[in-house]
């Protein structure tokens, strides 16, 4: 264990060891800005854990635990149960994980936590691949993205599967608060965290977090990619309270073609090389258009 002796250390301080321009770190800082100090965090294995807690250092100024890759949700349930026995209703419990820990290996445990209806906020930092272990595809990887386990090649256009719709799955569990945001809009993240914390009961926030090496983008492109994901309709800002969509990103005339979002990213570079790829970009445009229609963006 690593003790924080300094008083009022920031919730998430400087001194992390993430990549320059890391989208997840931008998102995590925005999340921390929305938190109060009466919290306990359970964190899954992943970039956020590795880069903020190299023993004996820690970047966390609030109580924080990492157990394993897939169990942040269940550890959070245990923390909640322990606080209940102490009569502590004030302390908020937050679980955090990446898309691998949320969409894939920890999926059953996230569902179990939601099923129990506990007062826990779960935050998924969605980098759309296993960023910490070498950019392998996860259930959150979008169609056509080239990853180390769905590489593009003469017989492959990258990932052949579409992204798992975790927002719909969260809503199906009847959560009080469900929201989607991206690292392109840090203040939107902060506001959503504040709102989620003000709700009692289970809440889920999913944040698209551009990964510099994973997406093969420049360190200064994290924010703009987070914004383009929203402006194309591929990853809209969404907010549901008690199952009702109460806020969304409205595009109108500012709508951008998906090409603008895909082209700077090395993980989609193969789509711009030949006719087959260009046809596939049209399919991705259809996914964005479907979102625009579905959410009325």
């Amino acid at each position: 264990m690593t003790k924080n002796t300094k008083k009022q250390k920031p919730i998430l301080g400087s001194g992390h060891r993430a990549c320059a321009g890391c989208g997840q770190m931008i998102a995590a800082m925005a999340v921390a800005s929305g938190m109060s100090r009466d919290i306990i965090i359970a964190n899954a294995t992943g970039c956020l854990e590795v880069t903020t807690t190299p023993y004996p250092e820690t970047a966390w100024g609030v109580p924080w635990i990492h157990s394993l890759f897939e169990n942040a949700a269940a550890v959070a349930s245990g923390i909640r149960a322990a606080l209940n026995t102490k009569g502590d209703k004030k302390t908020k419990v937050i679980a955090q994980g990446g898309d691998g820990g949320t969409f894939d290996i920890g999926f059953g445990l996230v569902s179990g936590m939601w099923e129990r209806g506990e007062n826990i906020l779960y935050i998924a930092y969605d980098t759309e691949a296993y960023s910490n272990t070498g950019i392998q595809a996860s259930g959150a990887t979008p169609i056509s993205a080239s990853t180390t386990t769905t590489p593009a090649g003469s017989n492959s256009l990258g990932s052949s599967q579409v992204k798992k719709d975790m927002i719909a799955i969260a809503l199906a569990h009847g959560l009080n608060y469900v929201a989607q945001s991206t690292a392109g809009y840090p203040s939107d993240i902060t506001n959503k965290v504040k709102k989620a914390i003000s709700h009692s009961g289970p809440a889920y926030i999913q944040i698209l977090s551009p990964c510099i090496p994973g997406w093969k983008i420049k360190p200064d492109e994290g924010l703009s990619m987070g914004q383009l994901a929203v402006q194309t309709g591929l990853y809209p800002l969404l907010e549901y309270e008690n199952g009702v969509l109460v806020n969304k990103s409205v595009l109108g005339k500012n709508k951008k073609p998906v090409k603008d979002y895909l082209e700077p990213q090395g993980r989609f570079a193969h789509l711009f090389k030949d006719k087959k790829g260009k046809e596939q970009i049209k399919e991705i445009q259809k996914l964005a258009d479907k979102n625009i229609e579905r959410y009325g963006l």
């Binding site: 854990e49 590795v50 157990s67 923390i79 322990a82 026995t85």
Partner: protein, 394 residues
Amino acid sequence: MKNNNKKKIKIPKGSNILEGSRAVALTVANIEPDVVSAYPITPQTHIVEDLAKFKADGKASYEYVRAESEFAAASIVVGASATGVRTYSATSSQGLLLMTEVIFNMAGLRLPIVLTIANRGVSSPITIWNDHQDAMTVRDAGWLMFFAENHQEAVAQHLLAYKLAETLNIPAMVNIDGFILTHSYEPVIIPTKAQIKKYLPKYSPTKGSYLNPKEPMTMGSFARPAYYQEIRQSLQDDLSNSIDLIEKEYKKLQKTLGKDIATKDSSALIEYYGKKKAKTVIVAMGSVVGTIKEVVDENKEVAVLKLKVIRPFPYKQIIKNLKNAKKIIVIEKAISLGNVGPMASELKSALQGKTPAKIYSIIAGLGGRDITKKKINKIININSQDTNKAIFIS
């Protein structure tokens, strides 16, 4: 599990005839954990059902968290224990295997979690019956490991397990034979809450050692090569050095609650039964020792050494009791496939250079096969030259 018609069985005052699972559940309820979490399948016992019923009937105040898998149940008690409260769960067989990643993690995080394992075989082929393969498979995880011969011993070991776990910050598991103990009825004395409090006070971890917004701390850091080995070594040192404390706590338990509750043995680690310096000594653990004791009663040339604690491994006590034997027979309900029984290996390692005796690895009782007196008598007469081979008794 004594059933000797020739002897009159003495039933201590205050006993009730209880199912093993019920005896454990009542003891755990009186220990007053704050958080209980469990998953009911693969396969469970009545222990967690009883604990749920006590809560439903308003007889217990713990938080009972229903988990969606053993993996989740184990993870839930991790979160609760890390927040500074007393926790409990129970499992067996496939459930323990599914928990295994968390089992190692609990020890590494130095959480004083207590688990009951209703020992059963593992798949494939699928079985629900008793053997020790489940527990033996996690013996490297960094836990205190107790094995009970009967209900009363299981009760006493749960009290010891909590006391030691909370003193050492090392998790502890109490192993009781599935069906043979969990589903059988025996006279047993359940200590009351007031009695337990005298031995095991309310759990109060030191400030700053658990998750608390008033004293922020980071648990479960990422350790690079410069730190990892030292952290693992400190767990090994604390676990290995706990032998004397286990004995001390057992004496204290006997003194505080009396020997009818705490059991009568002179050691918490081992029990030697039979003629001193017997030429043939059987080594075993769990409920089968009851049957072996009957064989010993009838054959004065044979003794039995019961292992009650296998982690930490009580090698000094084992050497002391086995150094005069000419033939050592380790009867185990588990095997390290491709080698011999795990306890036979460990005994050979502990006794290296201490005895010229032959040490046999006998595998019996896998997947619930009965180990009868007839089989034990057959085992005593084994006379093979090859002691590096596991001998299966069917």
